[in-house]
């Protein structure tokens, strides 16, 4: 079959010594920057771009791609170990991953993330290889109305992210939406809520909020507890690898996550961001097996599902890039730039005019994923050792890396002031008993929601029924309504039970 021929060609290209070395370097660098909070693949790829000019195009792209998904792997490491989501996709991993680490199960958490990501990466690459062209047609069906409905669905799912008060979770989502609106409005060009500060005209950075709220808030809160109450990382690290029980629980989660991630990754315009959140939501709504830890307290499925989803999503997000030449996010935009500099125009003719490049890249994705698992699994032991460092040495290091990471995004000290402010805010949140994860989801989705809402209404000339008359949009909204009922049902049920008991 043609696919196998192509793959054979690809592997032939990818397995050259030179390309393997570059894949390895890319993966290593990617893991490093993923682990270091703040510094993301965008900055690194931008910096290394000039270094790749001298390389042959295939090698350059293989290395850059390695950095990209290496960063995904590394980002989940910090999320699990120190409650710091380095990427928007790791925000969900923090919830259960960090709790697992505190209970001494960091090893299984990291392994779950790694193995789940590997599986999802393989599947995602397969889908990319086999179904790239037909899948782009699906992407075309998504207009602004569909995106908006999808995001409503995502937001309702976000309520599920919180384990505490439902009402406060909704309020946090709305707050996140509002924070996301700070900055220049796409449709009109007006800078909103920026108080004439030029750095705010592009909005508050995600990293700034994540570092401040998750990182600093957690550290301050930890330090405020007396030494013995501080269950930072209970010394007893129980095994580095997931148990058989863990595996049994994990596998369906990984499968579900991969499916969701693959589908959402195809959508140009940020579908991949929703992947992790959606996977977690769906996972949380499935029945708990007897003996399982509840979600939010260290359930391994809460790590495996979102990690698989975001890895599958990042693989399939190459599809709009390679077939349409449309970069779905900043990293892909850089890849387009890299390709252009090497005189390659991304688009369907890449498949025909540069088949070695296209298939070589795809083959190297598999190799890259494999390398990353091989790199990361032994590293788990090292990370665990790191956790046994006394907290009084660990927390200054974390603060420092947050500050450096935040500064490195824009080389602007303004970001450092912002992180400080959000650190205070994060601590306040902890004291007030409100959860940051829904806020971050609202923050990410807010601007996209508004943009699509306004665009849909502009295109329909003010007709609100467009959201229900378009088939795909209507079904998404119907799904959102169903999800809303599912979410509210337990709350309603318990109230009803209370009422019954009183009687």
């Amino acid at each position: 079959m043609e696919l196998f021929d192509n793959l054979a060609l690809g592997f032939g290209v990818a397995f050259t010594f030179q390309n393997l070395i570059y894949a390895f370097i890319g993966c290593l660098l990617g893991t490093l920057i993923g682990v270091l909070p703040g510094i993301g693949p965008v900055a690194t790829i931008a910096m290394l771009l000039p270094a790749t000019y001298a390389l042959p195009p295939v090698a350059a792209l293989i290395m850059l791609a390695g950095i990209y998904y290496g960063a995904q792997y590394g980002g989940s490491t910090t999320a699990i170990l120190v409650n710091l989501p380095g990427e928007s996709s790791s925000v969900v991993t923090v919830i259960d991953g960090y709790q697992m680490a505190r209970k001494g199960r960091a090893g299984p958490a990291l392994a779950a993330a790694g193995l789940g990501s590997f599986f999802a990466g393989c599947v995602g690459t397969l889908i990319l290889a086999a179904f790239a062209a037909p899948l782009t047609e699906v992407a075309f069906k998504f207009g602004p109305a569909e995106y908006f409905s999808l995001m409503i669905l995502g937001l309702i799912g976000a309520v599920v992210l919180a384990s505490g008060s439902l009402l406060k979770a909704v309020a946090m989502i709305v707050l996140g939406l509002l924070l996301g609106l700070v900055g220049t409005d796409v449709n009109s060009g007006v800078a909103r809520f920026s108080f004439d500060v030029p750095e705010l005209t592009d909005g508050i950075g995600f990293i700034v909020i994540a570092m401040g709220v998750f990182g600093y808030g957690e550290i301050i809160s930890n330090l405020s507890k007396p030494e013995d109450e501080r269950e930072v990382f209970t010394g007893k690290v129980t095994g580095l690898f997931p148990t058989k029980e863990d595996f049994k629980n994990m596998i369906p989660a990984v499968l579900r996550g991969t499916a969701i991630g693959s589908i959402l990754g195809i959508l140009p315009g940020g579908g991949a961001l929703l992947a992790a959140f959606a996977a977690y939501t769906i996972e949380k709504k499935t029945k708990l097996r007897p003996g399982e830890v509840p979600f939010g307290q260290g359930n391994i499925r809460g790590v495996a599902a979102p990690e698989s989803a975001n890895n599958a999503g990042s693989q399939t997000s190459f599809i709009p890039l390679l077939t349409l030449g449309i970069p779905p996010n900043a990293v892909m935009a850089l890849m387009v730039g890299a390709m252009t500099i090497h005189n390659i125009q991304p688009g369907p003719q890449v498949m025909t005019s540069n088949p070695e490049l296209f298939w070589g890249l795809i083959a190297s994705m598999w190799i890259g994923n494999l390398m990353l698992v091989i790199l990361n699994l032994p590293l788990i032991g090292m990370w665990i050792k790191l956790l046994t460092v006394p907290y009084r040495w660990l927390f200054p290091a974390i603060v420092l890396f947050c500050a450096i990471g935040v500064y490195s995004t824009n080389n602007n000290t303004f970001d450092i002031w912002m992180v400080a402010a959000f650190g205070v805010i994060g601590y306040t949140f902890i004291k007030l008993g409100v959860e940051p994860a829904p806020l971050l989801l609202g923050f990410i989705l807010g601007p996209m929601m508004e943009e699509n809402l306004r665009r849909a209404l502009l295109l329909s000339r003010g007709d609100w029924t467009v959201f229900v008359t378009r088939g795909l949009s209507a079904s998404l909204l119907a799904a959102a309504a169903v999800l809303l009922v599912i979410v509210l049902l337990p709350a309603v049920k318990s109230k009803r039970e209370e009422a019954f008991v009183e009687e």
Partner: protein, 198 residues
């Protein structure tokens, strides 16, 4: 002699412990106070307050932009709607905090001023040392100085502070950061103070 009016506040059992001596004859103040001490969940009350205030501020700020109507939404439309929703949610949460019973009052507890101060101060110090403050004519001291300064200040947030240990930690972190960020990742940082590098 004026007949004593039975203030409703007195009838609510909860305030036994917190009842203030009735020096004031003003019925309204006592009434208000009784609701205040009747907070069932401090956390909810203050978080609701926070939401209401923030929502209100955003909604107020949104009015300074064009609102438009449903068909042609101006930049102020969405923030206004969201701000109002948030304010309403905040009010709901506050109401809930006054009405719904909780086992322990969900107290906020004391604020950890010491760690809060030192961590934030350390962070700000990092920015000041790394980039300098042009407005105050402070030159940029560079990465190494910033790491030392920040590590020392931040370490004071913990329980234990041994200067020698902290200095060793700073050195280790400086070397590590230099290798990882400047050498390996080639990030553009001012490493040494500007008056040395020129």
């Amino acid at each position: 002699m004026a007949c004593r009016v039975v203030y409703p506040a007195r009838d609510i059992g909860e305030i036994h412990m917190f009842r203030t001596p009735t020096r004031s004859h003003n019925r309204d103040i006592q009434h208000w106070r009784s609701y205040l001490v009747n907070i069932k969940s401090q956390k909810d009350f203050f978080s609701g307050l926070m939401f209401a205030v923030i929502g209100g501020s955003f909604a107020y700020g949104a009015t300074s932009y064009t609102i438009g109507n449903g068909a042609r939404m101006g930049p102020g439309y969405f923030p206004l709607v969201l701000g109002v929703i948030l304010a309403l949610l905040g009010a709901l949460v506050m109401f809930k905090s006054l009405v719904v019973e909780t086992p322990d009052g969900e107290k906020i507890g004391s604020w950890a001023w010491k760690p809060l101060f030192y961590i934030i101060a350390g962070n700000i110090l990092f920015g000041v040392l790394l980039g300098g403050l042009p407005a105050f004519k402070l030159p940029a001291m560079g990465l190494i100085a910033a790491i030392f300064g920040t590590t020392i200040v931040v370490s004071k947030a913990g329980d234990v502070f041994v200067l020698k240990e902290v200095l060793v930690l700073s050195t280790v972190l400086s070397i590590g950061s230099y290798l990882a960020f400047v050498v390996l990742l080639k990030l553009q940082f001012p490493v040494w103070p500007t008056f040395i590098t020129g």
